[in-house]
Symmetry: C2
Subunit: 411 residues, 2 copies
């Protein structure tokens, strides 16, 4: 990864033109395209409407499993998990024989283009909502990098910035709140105005999207807020490129009851208790809004298990959309085979996958379950405040093409 | 199809117990499960909430193509299109060499269980929103059968009832209105109160669902209306069973622009103009709310066309979810092979399939496109105002199991 300022930066086999004006890439967590469409329809997001009209709007595919960590890392590396290694929020480390969060930078197998620009002399700012992403995103980078969640604990040494609460003029937001994401935007605006960095990466949390459907009042309020901050950024002559880590769907029946496939119980009943190890890569320390229930699971099976027979039975299970072997899943979803189980199960749009009822605390759910993780949440927005040029209409667009599109294909 | 009153009725190889109280089956057109969930959350549908709580709520799969005619006919016959023959709203009649609406009863290859009950002595009432379904639903039946659309033209000879406008006390509703569906419920309540039929089948129109997302004000208003009428029916000691012909999804990007695969143009560019005949089974005379754009298409190819090669290319096309040969589609979706083309194309959740831009009039769309037709709209609600008993948890539930569940599995 080498470059000279004013030319281009290469990262993971892709080349990015140096920005002619500051570039702000926004990853809106759980931003199903219809959130923006409905907010525009309701008159709640006038800047987003203007942005689509004067710039460009496309749909792209995110990484499956459609979870936060794999997608944020794909966006900042420009490559799928097969290359960068982060294929979930949580995984089974076979070498260490333990189940761990995938938040440590040691799991990251690729350099980020943020680090590439930073090392080439660009001024880079990364702001996340939750702290869990900060370490991964900040790998190898001398730049401003902090989370709204820990905005009261910043030091110049650790974060490249301090005094952000004072700069923003807001109190530390609660971790479960729309305010956590608002703080990201508010800080972005203040820092852009004061420091005018070359690259800014803003990544929000899907607290609102897990609770509220597109077009409902609280969802429209969130996008009204976002529209206002992006308008302020736009006024500072920056390129804005917006995408999402994943979409979001209801995971309930008409009564609002979650539709859950308990996969550990299913295996236990067929091959014996605890013989299979079911991993839910949605798992993270912040479970209150989804109860660790997503639409993607992987399972490690004991030696000698009848993979083909079990897979055939699983395919007939109510709510199951796809059952793939490790090799098939690695090929289809571009995942690192050494970090997924013997079988991958993806559930249908309105279903999620759990382990056993006792292992999911749904008491924190104060609204009917909405979640993600599957193929049904793969399409996400790609929005730009400038027109795009020379994009091959046959090209398969991904959310992790956002830097390429913003730097190499804006007018 | 023979039976004695008081026992059971058989139709198309399935047996239905005689009702112990009047049975009202409601097919809510385009009723994505989240419409009901969101209306309940907003406090707009108190009876629907009570109905779920005291009765039963499940999800079932509708027929693909997830359009109105195939699904209404499956519901009233209890079997898939492979048996009853209605596989679209519109099809290419190869024998007659013409493209025609599939509204004529001559295309129906099975008897309905409505006719079965009627012929066995049950008093049957069928009320549809649009007139297009009335002929098919009323086949072989001496019963009350009319549409809200033509409620001013009813005669006892043709419809088994007259004077419905006076009975309901409402003017004739407009065909493009929420009022068309409201009239169906209002008439159902008045007729149940006056005549207490044994079986009532109410089928609405998805005018509201094509325009308004779950949880938005106009959608909640629709379900508030429906909740009120169903509460009135419930108070008359009837069994209520509710399902949908299909779900409904946004078919746009974040800017609200429809995502359309123009399939006729695609074939024309590859094998010559008009060599392929692309059929959109969504087509019906009422196009204003969807512009004949749905997520399912079938194409007839000229002799010697490279089906495998074209299919492989189609699978890579942006927005394409499935490409199946006639035999594969007939097997997977239980369709009549003689009424579908050489290839079946299903688009992804946010995409629809059209022919050529000039053949789709989108001027009637006054809201961003929402539509259906694909696998992404296959899951629909199954709601009952009484608990269900003895339903095998492994059973694949279909919307066309609704009469079986309501008659054979309610307590």
């Amino acid at each position: 990864m080498t470059t000279a300022p004013g030319r281009s930066v290469s990262a993971n086999g892709r080349s990015y033109r140096w920005m002619s004006r500051p570039l702000v890439v926004v990853c809106v967590d759980g931003c199903e395209a219809d959130y923006i469409n409905q907010a525009i329809q309701a008159g709640a997001a006038p800047y987003l409407e203007k942005m689509c009209a004067k710039g460009a709007s496309l749909l792209g595919e995110c990484v499956v499993p459609s979870f936060t960590n794999p997608n944020n890392i794909s966006i900042v590396t420009g490559v799928p998990p097969a290359v960068h290694g982060i294929c979930g929020n949580y995984f089974y480390d076979r070498e260490a024989d333990e189940e761990v969060m995938m938040n440590d930078a040691k799991y990251l197998r690729a350099d980020t283009l943020l680090a590439g620009f930073s090392n080439a002399g660009a001024k880079v700012v990364v702001i996340t909502a939750k702290d869990k992403l900060r370490t991964l995103l900040g790998k190898g980078m001398k730049a401003v990098c902090f989370s709204a969640e820990k905005a009261d604990q910043l030091t110049t040494e650790n974060n490249g910035i301090a005094g952000v609460l004072g700069l923003v003029g807001k109190p530390l937001p609660k971790v479960y709140s729309a305010g956590l994401s608002e703080f990201v935007f508010a800080a972005g605006v203040k820092i852009m105005a004061r420091d005018r960095p070359d690259v800014m990466y803003l990544s929000t949390t899907d607290y609102v999207q897990h609770k509220h459907a597109p077009g409902t009042p609280a969802a429209n309020d969130f996008y009204r807020m976002m529209s206002g901050y992006l308008e302020q950024l736009d006024a500072m002559d920056v390129t804005i490129a917006l995408t999402a880590d994943h979409g979001m769907n209801a995971k309930t029946d008409a009564a609002g009851a979650p539709q859950i496939i308990f996969l550990q119980d299913w295996f236990d009943a067929r091959i014996g208790a605890k013989k299979a190890r079911v991993i839910l890569p949605v798992t993270d320390p912040y479970v209150a809004h989804h109860g660790s229930l997503g639409s993607f699971a992987t399972a490690y099976l004991p030696a000698g298990a009848d993979l083909a027979g079990l897979s055939a039975k699983l395919r007939k299970l109510r709510g199951v959309e796809l059952v793939l072997s490790r090799a098939e899943a690695a090929a289809q979803f571009e995942l690192p085979p050494d970090r997924i189980g013997d079988v991958v199960v993806v559930s249908e749009r309105l279903y999620v996958i759990g382990t056993s009822p006792s292992r999911h605390d749904l008491s924190g759910l104060d609204a009917p379950l909405r979640s993600h993780g599957g193929v049904s949440e793969q399409l996400v927005p790609l929005l730009f405040n400038r027109p795009l040029v020379d994009v091959d209409p046959e090209r398969r667009l991904r959310n992790f093409d956002i830097f390429d599109l913003a730097l190499n294909h804006t007018a």
